[in-house]
Symmetry: C2
Subunit: 496 residues, 2 copies
Amino acid sequence: MSYENFIGEVKTVSRIQAIQGQLGWDQQVMMPPNGANARADTLAWLSGRAHETLTSKKMGDLISELEKNISKLDEDQKTNVIEMRRTFDKSTKLPAEFIEKVTKTRSKGMGVWAEARKNNDFNSFSPLLGELVSLAREKISYLDKGNTPYDTLLDDYEVGLTVEYLDPLFAELKEGLIEILNKIMNAKKQQISKLDMTFPVKNQEAFCLKISEQMGFDFNSGRMDTSSHPFSIGISVGDTRITTRYDENEPFSCLYAVMHETGHGLYEQGLPNEFALTPRGTAISLGVHESQSRLWENQIGRTEEFWKYSLPLFQNEFPDFPKDIDAAQMNLIANQVEPSFIRVEADEVTYNLHIILRYEIEKQLFNGTLDVNDLPKVWNEMFKEWFGLDVEDDSTGVLQDIHWSMGAFGYFPTYTLGNLYAAQLFESMKNEFENVNKMIEEGNWSPLLNWLREHIHEKGRLYNPSDLIENATGKKPSSAPFLKYLNEKYGRIYGF
Amino acid sequence: MSYENFIGEVKTVSRIQAIQGQLGWDQQVMMPPNGANARADTLAWLSGRAHETLTSKKMGDLISELEKNISKLDEDQKTNVIEMRRTFDKSTKLPAEFIEKVTKTRSKGMGVWAEARKNNDFNSFSPLLGELVSLAREKISYLDKGNTPYDTLLDDYEVGLTVEYLDPLFAELKEGLIEILNKIMNAKKQQISKLDMTFPVKNQEAFCLKISEQMGFDFNSGRMDTSSHPFSIGISVGDTRITTRYDENEPFSCLYAVMHETGHGLYEQGLPNEFALTPRGTAISLGVHESQSRLWENQIGRTEEFWKYSLPLFQNEFPDFPKDIDAAQMNLIANQVEPSFIRVEADEVTYNLHIILRYEIEKQLFNGTLDVNDLPKVWNEMFKEWFGLDVEDDSTGVLQDIHWSMGAFGYFPTYTLGNLYAAQLFESMKNEFENVNKMIEEGNWSPLLNWLREHIHEKGRLYNPSDLIENATGKKPSSAPFLKYLNEKYGRIYGF
């Protein structure tokens, strides 16, 4: 009986969050500009209602009562109690005035950061960044102590994540990445076709919809729209939405955004409906979510086999596309590697170096003695050493990402975890199926989706991220599958 | 101090309703089909929360406290107290079990009605319709007594509306309408151009957007989309949305839907922002809302002057459109009068006969002794007498409208009130401005909108509908301006 009461309260919180999700989607995709203030007001009001319900005495009592007799619950029910305990504790430990202060500083921070990036002026941002770092330190003081202060921040984005877990993983990865990068840089430069034509939005949309459907996205339970930054969101059972953006000069950024967001969307569509609005029916973490998007985008999408299947569909939409560009050449265009300043434009090799750099800096900020004012200097030195490039202005250096201006310290590592998990999952699929390459080439993709459904999607929050990956692949998470994948892929392209 | 507390509670209710509005818009315009169940669940949950807040002891106490010292409040504040008292009483007088029963019967009703209409089978619907009538009678027993039972239903949709008010209004109107209809039927038949081409959706959309903007709709504070039934909704300050539908074979249904919905939308955009989320900042009634849509759609949109201004814009979008069709001919096409079975397809003359017929039937149902089973017989007899047409099946007769299946008895008269109010307001504008025809022809429409802003939109719920119209026009609402307008309009077209 009290389990049902408990689930009733949990669903109230989830319902409010689902409404926030829908309003947030509308805000980014549909809302006319002058609706902004009222929408912000509505969203803040809903946040208050969700927090109120989540942190109520009633919720606390229900959780405590269930914990006393936890052995009487089944695994699904236990998951819900354990996950709500975690969320409840995290939410009740942060004082209301603190949350308010963070919200205000954050919204101020984003504005100041945008201005500072535009003007290439780190000094105008550093005082606020200093405040945001102090607030993150204050947050650490309220929450459960990890082995190090930074652990507490990491755990906030990826449950159970620690420096102890990441340090060896990232060290091995960094070494391997630099090795591959050197091989590529020393290899013979490939002749890459110039795409000297326009790709109308209408045809890009039609092509991308076909690919998304081919991946298994159910458009009776979802839709695709346009927004300035591609994203995906699971609003409810039967309603998952993805967005993309179009560049008429090149069709790849749209395609890979759609494959990436469809990967996220398939995870949401694959969550078990019977546990909707409870943790058991919710995605476990940012890292695992990113593994789903990256697997489809990179392991499947950035391959010659993918283009063998998709090129005819592509040519069908773009009849003027040069007939002499074949699948191998398409793959080459989609896999150019070159060190560059901007993370979000990076290839699969350098992308993770961008992340590890941010990880090292965050670690020094919270576990070491790095001062906010020294950030540009440290950033530029590391960048020169790792990428061989001189950062010329902070706008393309330390100021490039929005995350710190939102106080999101500890978030970046989840991107790389996603890449590692994706490679490890894909390696298991290769062992499971006789010839994955042939399946991709023939458009026989549904067994791949079904494998992910069974091993990842249906599990919801039953297991912690690293356990989930280990259960699915039989191995503890490591960087080995990812490095192997990169070596094979780029060895094939660049001939090493 | 207690006024502020009161407004806080009022805004909570309004916020929830605004969220319902946004989710409802999404449901009709954007939501993928499989999201239907979860969305219905979310909307029902929100209804519960709104009702809970609206009918709370706290709300009741705050209202009572303010009523004790009502003389200390200004007019705007008084309006909010008076309107919330009305809403509070109405909501608290209906027992929760009764509301639940109505909600269930209603959602069952709509399904059964749709099926019955499809199969032209009144008998399969009549038991449920009987239940819905009984529930409406039960509702009457809970609410304030009007002079007649039907008055209580009328008041529910249009505050202060009574049979005593409507009977003479509609009697005079009916007589006048039948007279005009006879004149038109006896006039020489006009030669009307056949539109033998297709009108691509893209160009219809572009044309309609231009007209909507020309009317004064602010697209930075709104948007236009497609839905199966056109509608409009004010979601928040700065966010009002309209929808339309497209028929590639003829461009008029889309255009006049857009003008109609833009008329509604302009009312929403013109409500006073400083009173947002309170009754004072909300539209007063369905009838007044309909007057705004009808004024733009008919008084302005279905005129030769409108087409003198708009035909070049139209030809610009449809270059193949015959050059020999001029503004007068366009106006003729847009104003064909012919008695037909279906209300929503009716012209301005017969439309109101459709409404008065429904009014007479509803009156007999609630104030008289008409039995639900006799509805088809009574309907068909009246239809023969008024329209001169034999109703051949109930699908195009008594089963055509969704309203009764939703238990919405007393709603129909607001449509005709809208037409009467529109004509009366437009007559005042003609007196106010030297030459309205010339203004329409020259696209000088903003003074017309400003007049409506000042006399209607900005007033919110400050006055009851009939007082609002009287204040704006200096005369009590009557059918005279509408009949005069029809006589002039159709006299000009048909030469009588």
